[in-house]
Symmetry: C2
């Protein structure tokens, strides 16, 4: 049966994740992959989890295995509230927290309740691919902004031409993929522009607490809680396998999100929420996070050092204050899509930067993950990539 004529406009607007598809190429064991955004399994608190899952099944088994409430398990929301208190001195009541099936669902539900076909969402250029996918999936129109300081002008034009953005999407800390962190002044500026044009902000903070250096900066949520939806996740700081994220926002917004979540998946698994709540309450989360930051800093430093050692001339990279990614630029004339094919032959993988650019630009860029690979593979993988880049250069007589 030919389903093409039956597909919805949403389906036709969706874009397959190049990351997910690249990952399927990159699973051959001989390939060193810098493509995914996988946390390092060494950071998974396996021993603690073995105890906690027993405890949850022992004491709370019936609740853990039953349907849960759509807004999420109360003990987990309380622990998240405490986390904001001790990490950022923010007072967030539990009714301002909605648990989601990881932050991808948060992006999906927010898109669902706000985006009509053709609606504009202002995001970065580049920006997180999963967010772009969510916008596209509802026929939203991401408008990518290369420099934050153009935001006022961009909003002015968009509003004047009947394309007032539905919201601004931003990852202020160690952006995926650019690695850039917004300064305090930039955050204040974005909030000010949002106020000026009466816009909502989606502040995505998956990496915020994986900081290697520099000082933690206040969230935009703390500056304008009435118009910011702040997304959090345990995927990078605990384990991604439980698919646990959350939205902090006004109850009027969460009420709509809740109705959308009812038809999306009814509720997030109670079992994993109870496990996460107990893990947070034990204090092990904070301890483990420190170790995670130290490990990722070391890996980031190693990758940067390997770049310095092996990369041919003309390759530029970021040196982020945190997160999981480095962003590389080749000289303008090269296309990393072409490089990818060479790199795969050299048994090393990355994500082409174009995937993160809503306007199709960024063809000379690429994203590399440093959190997952072993130290040996980081060095070896960078050597292979440098080699692949040299082949690309040679092809064009450089």
């Amino acid at each position: 049966m030919d389903i093409k004529p039956l597909l919805s406009n949403n389906a036709l607007s969706m874009r397959r994740s190049q990351i997910r598809d690249l990952l399927s190429v990159a699973t051959r064991p001989e390939i060193i992959s810098f493509a995914g955004g996988f946390p390092n399994p060494d950071t998974f608190p396996l021993e603690e989890l073995k105890e906690i899952v027993q405890e949850v099944l022992e004491k709370d088994g019936n609740a853990a295995l039953q349907y849960g409430s759509t807004d999420g398990v109360i003990s987990l929301r309380q622990e998240i509230s405490k986390l904001y208190k001790r990490e950022e001195n923010l007072d967030i009541p539990v009714d301002h927290i909605q648990i989601t099936t990881a932050s991808q669902q948060a992006l999906d539900l927010i898109s669902r309740i706000f985006i009509n076909p053709g609606d504009v969402v202002v995001c970065g250029l580049p920006s997180y691919l999963g967010a772009l996918q969510a916008f596209w999936s509802y026929q939203g129109q991401p408008y990518g902004l290369r420099h934050n300081n153009g935001l006022d002008e961009a909003c002015n034009v968009l509003c004047a031409t009947g394309k007032k953005p539905k919201f601004l999407y931003s990852i202020p800390d160690f952006q995926n993929p650019s690695g850039e962190t917004m300064t305090l002044e930039e955050r204040e500026y974005v909030v000010e522009v949002a106020r000026k044009y009466d816009l909502l902000i989606v502040e995505d903070t998956p990496y915020k607490n994986i900081r290697f250096s520099g000082e933690k900066l206040p969230s935009m949520y703390s500056m304008a809680p009435e118009r910011v939806m702040m997304l959090g996740t345990f995927s990078k700081t605990f384990v991604p396998g439980f698919r646990l994220g959350w939205i902090v926002a006004e109850p009027t917004i969460l009420d709509r999100i809740n109705v959308a979540k009812q038809s999306a998946d009814l509720c997030t698994p109670a079992f994993s929420q109870l496990v996460a709540a107990k893990y947070l309450a034990s204090g092990a989360y904070d301890e483990n996070l420190k170790k995670t930051c130290a490990l990722y800093k070391r890996k980031k430093d190693l990758m940067v050092k390997s770049f310095e050692e092996y990369m041919p001339e003309g390759v530029k990279w970021t040196n982020p204050e945190g997160g999981l990614f480095l962003f590389l630029k080749l000289p303008k004339k090269y296309d990393t899509r072409e490089l990818f094919d060479i790199a795969i032959k050299e048994n090393v993988a990355f994500v082409i930067g174009e995937a993160f650019h809503s306007d199709g630009s960024g063809k000379n860029t690429m994203r590399l993950n440093f959190s997952f690979a072993t130290d040996e593979k980081i060095v070896e993988g960078v050597k292979r990539l440098a080699n692949a880049i040299r082949q690309l250069y040679a092809k064009y007589g450089n």
Copy 2:
């Protein structure tokens, strides 16, 4: 900030689940609730799970806690394939199985890739509320059909008036909420009509294996695999808390579902999938299912017996061959919404039937769950409900 002017048409089209909202009223401990669709916690294989979760963390910890593939863990898809072989003698290759975050997500993703605003979906009158919610959430237009034998005529009219249905939605076994089971002839007829008008069918089978009496009937999928998407779930036969469901369909359809799932939640938790796979492989699933069927049959019989004993004249009920629900009818002139308020004062809860009727009819009906309450509460709850119905009768001088 007033978000109302910003909401998408999807958000405005969404309907809050009356079940979920009623459940929040019905959590007072003194209330006996027949409202939810909760399985009985006595059926949860707690002891086996304690062992299996340890085994998974021990042997597969890193994979269980990491991001998984969007299509689902292969070992679970293999176990589901084997399940179809031994339960229905169906040969289903793993690439015809997509894991979803329970079957609610399956309904959501199918709606997302097929429904444009205004598109018609033919369903039952009554039909499963979660499915209606998914259709509404994409501005679909459910057309409720009271009798299966009107399907050909209905499709004829719809097609002739430019409203060709995007798909037919059906729960052939112990329908939620009516408890009705489609005969073999009815199944063949629906498939025949689907062929005649070239329509897809969504066959939802959450209760199929919870059968008390009568013979298992072949699925519509087995009759027309090229046009049927068959939904399954472990929520009623294993545990709902892991949120594990699946879609069986042609790879061309699953490929689109996969892209939609990438932006919905990336992947379903690998941990719970690995646990479920091991549980199925152990053989304990089949054993436990037998006990579950026996328990639910006993509870169903007890509730029917209590109806016979306590219900005033004029109340009618179904006596289904399986599933989790009984469906009650009062004489036409009574509204179960009014009854609900009286019942809550009597400390007993149910779901008003109107919630399941896409056309707003069914005001004199209600759904009662018999799987969750203890035997004592089933008897006591029916007494209270009968008492509430007598009060409603008395109010109108009957």
